[in-house]
């Protein structure tokens, strides 16, 4: 079984998509959908074996020196996700085949969509933490490209950037977490990790791993306080929302947690952390969804609520809760995918997504209405839909956790009641209430637009009514993969009269009440929001980015101010500081004050040179400075000569004279010195100069102190004549022992000559850039 072929097929298709689109512009949706559909069928076939506990594992070496391989691991959990991805993916592709017809650059859209699908499938199939991460990042990038599909709108670009930054931040945390896992256990392979639970949980890094992996999951799965990117991401086309933001990308965070639950889970930290995050997210999502007007925004917030619920369930970490999580995962994917597609259709047909503007669509768009209502029922958790089953299970799971009492349960009931109310509001306002002024006169959508949601809604119903195959072959192995115990699951619509049923009834009742009094409640909430929750997270984030840019700009202008003197000043100050620090650190203050043989005439010349230096520095006239500089040069030549460096002295004199000539001939063209600096500036520069000069003096004093070994120059003295045939040792060194230096040196001279030549001869053109 070659699992990589599945992903390879999708990716190949992705790269072919632009071309296919060119050749078959009409049928592109169907063509592209055929491959995920085929994969779906194949997976269903596989699921028969998986249902009997088969696990497929394949590994291909990628970077073995780092312990990284591309390995694929198919168990129940992966299978469940794969099925959802391929099913919804195929439907979305069919849907977008029509939906996207009139947009430009569709070829690239399909490319990105297929890329995303491949990445997502890779993510759930990967059996190596690093390859999970690779696909994880790929989903971030491709979702960025998809969300920003309408890239000429500023809002879309901002939304895409937001989504990318948030998820990339999480990605980095995830990467750090994975590296830490490897550090603790020595492996990246999931299959090996499953046996390392003890080691990992006793590792000193456990908490860090948990936080980092959790951060990754939270950003990807839009958990509070990173939830804001999801509503913004609605700026993308509807098929994208239907695909990415219902079943696939936003569930990736949940997936990674479920995947690692057998290894990381079960501790107090795990439970507490995830539950709190999930609970808050759930409430936030539910609460904010009520006040939205935009249909897609409502769906986005309700998605956040659902994701919060999932996180909470994972966090509760009991058999019941995992079971509930898996079921609710499927439930939510089905109805949310359908609803997003419906929202897209409505938007397309009417030109608006404002639910209070819409209305009466059941007349003009009957198929769509039916489909949407089915999905909404599932969302509201009414029987006989699988949504009801999911909710029942959630209540069941939450009612039996010992530590936290009833808090999760109550919160959950409130949140679900909101969902009921929202479903009702959507159903009423969009399809039945009186319509406002619609930009376009609605008419029924073509088959391709409603078949997708219809299939999903139908599945919502069918899975609840005929759960056999789903239970046995898909849900059970998935739960089994997370909760390591033999599982037997029976999805039942009817549990008998019990507490859970009562909770459901309460939920629906409260929801109905909210719906009934919506005219009063919603404005009240809005007012409340304006007063107390006047935080637009998305805006805050953008403000933060702006503020960050502003700050860095300011800082850049400060650091990279453009004035060379300050650059040099910082360099000298830092260099001095570093050297002084080093001197201090090395504890080496005792300089050698007697550094050797200095005859009085050398000292005398040195004094004059010092004086001439001072004149050169402080003279007001350029020529005086130059003459003083010449004197310094000759003085140094004399000092060299006094210590027996004859060639050096000659060279020094010659170059000094010629530099003087060149210098004089160049300043010919320049204006005279003006006195530029203020006294305080000069004093400051003087202090810097003295500090720098001071340590250089110190270093020169130290130089003679440490002599590790006799110098290598004895060899030159010995061999210069016998081997090098020269009596002038310095010259022999230059042309023979170290001739390579000299070769480089004359090369430098040649280049310098070319440079001078070009600089002096070049015409004074304004700009010489690329043509």
């Amino acid at each position: 079984m070659e699992l990589y072929l599945i992903i390879a097929a999708i990716f190949t298709l992705a790269f072919l998509a632009p071309m296919l689109h060119k050749w078959f512009p009409k049928a592109i949706g169907w063509i592209l959908a055929s491959v995920p559909a085929a994969v779906f069928a194949y997976l269903i076939y596989l699921s028969i074996d998986i249902g009997y506990g088969l696990v497929v594992y394949e590994s291909y070496a990628w970077i073995p020196s780092l312990g990284i391989s591309m390995s694929f691991y198919l168990d129940g959990l992966s299978l469940l996700f794969l099925l959802m991805i391929t099913a919804i993916g195929a439907l979305v592709l069919i849907y977008s085949g029509y939906y996207m017809q009139h947009y430009s650059l569709k070829g690239r859209f399909y490319f990105y969509l297929m890329l995303f699908m491949g990445a997502m499938m890779g993510l759930v199939l990967s059996g190596n933490l690093i390859s999970i991460f690779v696909f994880w990042e790929l989903t971030s990038i491709s979702s960025y490209l998809l969300i920003g599909f309408f890239h000429e709108k500023t809002k879309s670009r901002a939304a895409a950037l937001q989504a990318l930054l948030v998820t990339a931040l999480g990605g980095l945390a995830l990467m750090a977490g994975m590296v830490l896992i490897n550090l603790s256990t020595g492996t990246y392979e999931i299959i090996e990790l499953l046996n390392e639970r003890e080691i990992l949980q006793n590792s000193p890094y456990y908490l860090a791993i948990l936080i980092l992996v959790g951060l990754g999951a939270m950003t990807k799965s839009a958990q509070f306080p990173f939830h804001f990117w999801l509503p913004s991401a609605m700026a993308g086309p509807s098929p994208v929302s239907a695909f990415l933001h219902s079943a696939t990308m936003v569930k990736a965070g949940i997936y990674i947690l479920l995947r690692l639950a057998p290894v990381l889970g079960g501790t107090l930290e795990w439970r507490a952390g995830l539950s709190v995050v999930g609970l808050v997210t759930m409430l936030v999502g539910a609460y904010f969804s009520l006040t939205q007007k935009d249909l897609k925004a409502i769906l986005a917030y309700s998605t956040i609520m659902a994701l919060g619920t999932l996180m909470l369930l994972v966090g509760i970490d009991t058999y019941q809760s995992i079971k509930a999580a898996i079921i609710f995962l499927v439930v939510h994917s089905l109805y949310k995918g359908a609803l997003f597609m419906v929202a897209g259709s409505i938007d397309k047909q009417t030109g608006t997504r404002d639910i209070y503007q819409l209305g009466g669509l059941f007349r003009t768009m009957p198929y769509t209405t039916v489909v949407a209502l089915l999905a909404l029922f599932s969302m509201a958790g009414l029987p006989p839909f699988i949504g009801f089953v999911g909710k029942e299970m959630i209540y069941e799971a939450k009612s039996i956790i010992p530590e936290t009492g009833n808090l999760p349960l109550i919160a959950s009931i409130i949140a679900n009641a909101f969902m009921v109310a929202i479903s009702a509001i959507i159903a009423w306002h969009v399809f039945f209430a009186k319509a406002g002024n619609l930009p376009k006169q609605p008419k029924e959508t073509p088959f391709r637009l409603w078949v997708g949601p219809a299939v999903l809604s139908a599945l919502s119903l069918l899975l609840a009514l005929f759960p056999g195959f789903f239970d046995r072959n898909i849900a059970e192995p998935a739960i089994g993969a997370v909760w390591d115990a033999s599982v037997s699951l029976q999805i039942k619509l009817w549990h008998g009269f019990n507490l859970v049923l009562l909770y459901s009834v309460i939920t629906i009742a409260v929801g109905a009440l909210i719906f009934a009094f919506r005219k009063k409640i919603i404005p009240a909430i809005q007012k409340f929001n304006e007063r107390f929750f006047a935080i637009d997270f998305a805006q805050k984030f953008l403000d933060m980015v702006d503020g960050f840019l502003h700050l860095t700009k300011k800082k850049t202008d400060f650091i990279q101010g453009g004035v060379q003197r300050y650059y040099l000043m910082i360099i000298f100050v830092t260099a001095s500081a570093l050297v002084w620090y080093q001197l201090f650190y090395t504890r080496f203050w005792d300089f050698n004050s007697d550094i050797g043989y200095i005859p009085f005439y050398a000292a005398g010349v040195a004094v004059v040179v010092i004086a001439a230096t001072v004149v050169a520095v402080f003279s007001k006239s350029r020529v005086v400075a130059l003459i003083a500089m010449g004197m310094v040069g000759w003085g140094l030549a004399l000092i060299f000569a006094f210590y027996g460096a004859i060639d050096l002295a000659i060279t020094q004199i010659m170059t000094e004279t010629l530099v003087l000539v060149i210098f004089v001939m160049i300043i010919y063209h320049l204006p005279v010195f003006k006195s530029f600096s203020r006294l305080s500036t000069r004093i400051r520069d003087g202090v810097i100069a003295v500090v720098f000069g001071g340590f250089m003096m110190g270093l020169s004093l130290k130089a003679d102190y440490l002599n590790l070994y006799p110098a290598i120059s004895d060899y030159f003295a010995q061999n210069s004549f016998t081997e090098g045939h020269g009596r002038n040792i310095v010259n022999v060194i230059l042309v023979d022992f170290r001739a390579m230096d000299t070769l480089g040196e004359i090369t430098v001279l040649t280049i310098a000559a070319i440079g001078v030549f070009v600089l002096m001869r070049m015409k004074n053109k304004k700009t010489e850039e690329l043509k």
Binding site: G561, G562, V563, Q564, L568, F572, I595, G596, Y597, I598, A603, A606, V607, I610, T613, A616, V617, A625, V632, G633, L636, I639, Y643, G644, A645, I646, D647, L648, Q652, V659, I662, F663, I667, H669, L670, F676, S677, I688, A689, G693, M696, S700, A703, D704, A711, F721, T722, R727, N728, I729, L734, R738, D741, V748, I751, A752, G755, V756, L759, M760
Partner: protein, 116 residues
């Protein structure tokens, strides 16, 4: 008196730094020249100051006498002098060009934000 060459090194460095920090490009290049000189002296001093004869092998002898100046630092400084000569010639030409193009010799007048 033994300190004097070290002090010379320090003074040359200080002068170089001070000149480099001036606004006039001419002074900056003077600073570069001084920096080169200062470094040469530093290398020379660190090579060891001994009372020694020049590094030559006398006529009729195969190897050098006992006390000769260390020839290697001399060769190094010689190379360095030549290299800095090339660099200084180049910087002077650059100075010319700078003035021709910008019309100023004040380095503060020209910053990175300048767009033509």
């Amino acid at each position: 008196m033994g300190l004097i060459l070290s002090i010379l090194t320090g003074v040359l460095y200080a002068a170089a730094i001070y000149l480099l920090l001036r606004r006039s490009i001419v002074k900056m290049i003077l600073g570069i020249i001084f920096l080169g000189n200062a470094t040469n002296v530093l290398v020379f001093v660190s090579g060891g100051l001994t009372k020694a004869s020049p590094a030559f092998i006398a006529e009729g002898q195969q190897v050098a006498a006992e006390h000769i100046a260390d020839p290697l630092p001399q060769a190094l400084i010689l190379t360095a002098i030549v290299i800095s000569f090339g660099i200084i010639a180049f910087s002077l030409a650059l100075m010319y060009r700078f003035y021709k193009i910008t019309g100023t010799d004040d380095l503060d007048d020209v910053t990175e934000e300048d767009e033509v």
